[in-house]
Symmetry: C2
Subunit: 317 residues, 2 copies
């Protein structure tokens, strides 16, 4: 299977300027001096997560004619807002299919970005989106299972190595694997000696299990749904799993308590509001030193869209 190349990632980086913030790497004075830590704060993107990079890249690579017909996506989370925002930036229509049970606040956030929202029962999301695509001639933008989306997320890896050429270790959350695939493709091309580790919630660790088994392992959705890291409930596709197997050095897992504590640490010590999915890498840094290479470490903070009640709880810990 052909993996995403550094050339594709460089091309994506040249395109995303108008919509994605070029986030800095933030040094952490509170880190262990023997393992200096920088944060890559993707929670500061306009929609609150890295997803804008992949969605915008995917839209930018459509033909002008196809793009003018609009795009469709299914998601209740960060990908929904990313596609809506990217479509608005291009001035083309977007339809987002969201499950009927999603919180009203997520539906409203997507509508506020100018997208049409269609609500269906959860199991029907994918087919409903495909049908809308066929009927209206709209292109489906997948959340991770596409080379253009992976290339877009890979721009984060490019920026990390540009800003910290002597980075030793990059920690990345793993869900569908698009983010980790893209970042690993960039980091391994530009600094092969740096390690890239994925991080998963212990109670939704399908990729860790897949690495142990040597092939993809499927966990029941209701099992994956148990983690508070609601952005980490997907599983890799064939495409992203191929990237991960080839490119990343390992996967570590963190507990729910460790994730919540890391949300608190990021707020108190680095002044960042992170969602649980974005805090897993900091949790791994703080609690899995023995399982990780030493050296100059970057933790990717993938997003900041946290439920206010959960955030308040994290601050109390």
């Amino acid at each position: 299977m052909e993996l995403v190349s550094i050339a594709e990632i460089r091309a994506a980086a040249e395109n995303i300027g108008p919509v994605a913030v070029r986030t800095p790497v933030l040094p952490c004075l509170w880190a262990d001096p023997d393992r200096p830590l920088w944060l890559k704060p993707e929670n500061l993107q306009p929609i609150g997560s890295f997803k804008i990079r992949g969605a915008y890249t995917a839209l930018s690579r459509l033909s002008e004619a196809d793009r003018a017909c609009g795009v469709v996506a299914y998601s209740s989370g960060n990908h929904a807002q990313a596609v809506a925002y990217a479509a608005r930036a291009f001035g083309v229509p977007a339809v987002i299919v969201i499950e009927a049970t999603a919180p009203a606040i997520k539906v409203e956030a997507t509508r506020a970005l100018g997208a049409e929202v269609v609500q269906v029962p959860l199991p029907e999301r994918e087919t409903a989106a495909a049908e809308i695509g066929r009927e209206r001639g709209m292109t489906l933008i997948p959340p991770f299972d596409h080379p253009d989306v992976i290339a877009g997320q890979g721009t984060i890896g490019l920026e990390i190595v540009t800003d910290l050429p002597d980075v030793d270790l990059v920690l990345v959350p793993i869900s569908g694997g698009g983010l980790a695939s893209g970042i690993a493709a960039a980091v391994k091309a530009l600094r092969p000696s740096a390690a890239v580790f994925g991080v998963e919630p212990e109670i939704a660790a399908d990729t860790a299990a897949g690495f142990a088994a040597g092939e993809r392992v499927h966990l029941p959705p209701e099992q994956r749904a148990r983690t508070m890291a609601d952005g980490l409930r997907a599983e890799p596709s064939e495409l992203t799993f191929a990237h991960l197997r080839k490119l990343i050095d390992g996967v570590v897992t963190v507990t729910e308590d460790e994730i919540l504590a890391a949300v608190g640490t990021l707020a108190r010590r680095s002044h960042l509001v992170a969602e649980p999915s974005g805090a897993v890498t900091t949790a791994a840094y703080l609690n899995r030193a023995a399982d990780l290479p030493a050296g100059r470490t970057v933790a990717v903070v993938s997003g900041g869209n946290i439920d206010p009640a959960l955030f308040a709880k994290a601050l109390q810990d």
Copy 2:
């Protein structure tokens, strides 16, 4: 009186790279579309505030011999950590004079950066620092009343105009006035058509009163101490007031309730932990539109070192 020049600010910008984060400007999707808003998140600096820029610049301009003897400062707040951090970066000793009543957490934070802390009664801080300087041959680094400090803070203005060449309005907190002086010097040199407004707490608005009177107005310290914006309790010096009178377009004030609500907005909508002093500009954007020019606006979020209990309260609002 000679004001700080853009050449001095450019020279400072070339120096601070090793210690200060080059913060981006963050677009706010939640802003009024007719008055687009960007945040300049100085709360993301390693010590949690912009103060590192001025302190490091001041140290960098000492002669090597003077610098080797070390530096001294009096502050219980962000300037204390800034001087300690800058001294550590240069590998020279720092003594920070802190009032005996300061919270232990602030003393510890300063010690953790390698500085020696001397505690004295509040009214004796300044004289104690001067005495230590004389006795030990250490140079006093003032928090705002020095051209080098102003030039360092001015690098923020340089970065704003570089990143947003068509900015129309910059909102800056005013306390001692070093930050506003430096930013205004840079913005007015590079984009004279842009307005720069200062923001003060309504209950500690000495600069607003000074602008109305045409000269500096002194408010009693116990009056200034009432605001929760603990970084905005100082008053301009002759030097900074001269900059402000010449360079800024006006001063607006915000209430304590508006400040606290703005802390909540920054956390919920832009994923930033801001201290009250850093949130006054967002409070002004949200509540003083009628008193401010329209157009592309930047709010400087000067710092993030907020008391956890106060932050929890802001999130509940």
